[in-house]
Amino acid sequence: MDDELYRENLMDHYRHPRNHGTLEHPDCEAEGKNPLCGDEVEIDVEVADGKIAAIRFSGNGCAVSQAATSMLTELVEGLPVEEAAALPSQAIIDELGIPLSAMRVKCAVLGLGTLKVALHRGAGTPLPAEWGADDDELVWG
């Protein structure tokens, strides 16, 4: 079989997720859900000097959603909050490096969306319209 889909890097993140767990004193947090698939992630973030000082996630779901969130945590650790909050979906899709159908894109960006919700909550800024409840099939809590 053509296992491009489940590349080693992806499977490695899925089997050995980085930054997995929770933080004792997060500055902000959020959870995200893809009700169609049942994918779930929770993200805790500590902010220091306007940067993401620490990040942890937990959750369950398909390999794509969990590996993508694991990769995301490595991507954003140490980044300025604004930069992380502006990270385009394509960044995470590129990081996964596999072809994704529209349905799987939702799995891929679940973690990113959840992180953005957390960061906006922490900063007290309103969510960008495209992350609003009625604009996407993902749900935030």
Partner: protein, 420 residues
Amino acid sequence: MFVSVTGTTAPGIDPTRIRADFPIFGRQVHGQELAYLDSASTSQKPQAMLDAMTGFYSTSNANVHRGVYTLGIESTDAFEAARDAVAQLINAPSRREVIFTRNTTEAINLVAKTVGAERCGPGDVIVSTVLEHHANLVPWQVLAQQTGATLRFLDVDDQGNLQLDELDEIAASGNVRIVAVTHQSNTLGVRPPVEALVRWARTQGALVVLDAAQTVPNRPVDVQALDVDFLAFSGHKTLAPTGIGVLWGREEILAATQPFLTGGEMIRSVALDRTSWNTLPWKFEAGTPAYAEAVGLHAAIDYLQAVGLDAIDAHEHAITEYALGRLGEVPGLGIVGPPDAASRGGVVSFVLDDVHPHDIAEILDRHAVCVRAGHHCTQPLMQRLGHSATVRASFYLYTTTDEVDRLAAGLHDVRKVMGV
């Protein structure tokens, strides 16, 4: 004239060449080629549309929004691409505003039974017109009965021109909530002054529901330019299959409205005691949608746009002008509706002495001329104009002057057979 009505020369539409794309025109009736003059009832279908549907079923068919496998993804993409094509056709601000229904009738019922039921009550007024097809009349009657709102009808003059002189009185009589009006009468071809009605509705804070079943098929329709709140049309009148129609509605209204039918596809999550709804547009599409028909509608839209909706409009106008001339030569024939081709669509209703319209249609069928006879689902309009039935000829992009000539010749024969 911009368009050739002889059916053979440029510029504009050449209906003879267009007919070659429609397999049904290879059919004969009573040994003669079809003169199909009933497109206001339903359109014929181009091969490209039939091929698109068959091809879809033969390569990509799978239920939509569900499968993670290749066929399911292709099927979903094809279905949602059809939505984009509709949004682009009517210049909808967002694809989320395009809801697939079975037909115009279901689209209007959906509005009446959701937005209408939520917004109407005693003291409120719903405004419609005597021009309406039953599909844009009976649902409002039922809504008025169920909510205690008052239903008022704008009258027409003897030629079917909509009268706006009662608007002030209606405005004084209660809160006008909904104005439901046709973009073009399917019986007379007359086009009511929708712009003026929309302006008035805005002063009342009323929502405007536009029945565009007779106009989306044959000319550019732009929901933003029209500034209406809802618009409905049927696939089967736009070269597309039966079983699919469209409701377009303003996103902020639809988003704030409870769903219509419930079940699969339209939910976000279901528990035994509580359900939350999916986002637009799927919130209003319960169960497996007519996704193959959507693929057919997409192909039909592609076909219409390749021909050009402006050109189709011009062709219909020219053919209508031609038909009014030829029909005028038939002794005893009386046009029902405006006598001229200005500001009307490709529909002509008429009577012939006291010959019953059914007899006319049946004799014309012996000439393979297909016209409708009856009340055309507009009984109140017929009653207002003092007819129990009319004969109706209606035209489309494939209509030739030759077909109109055969209609005229057939009518001379009707006179002979019926001894008038």
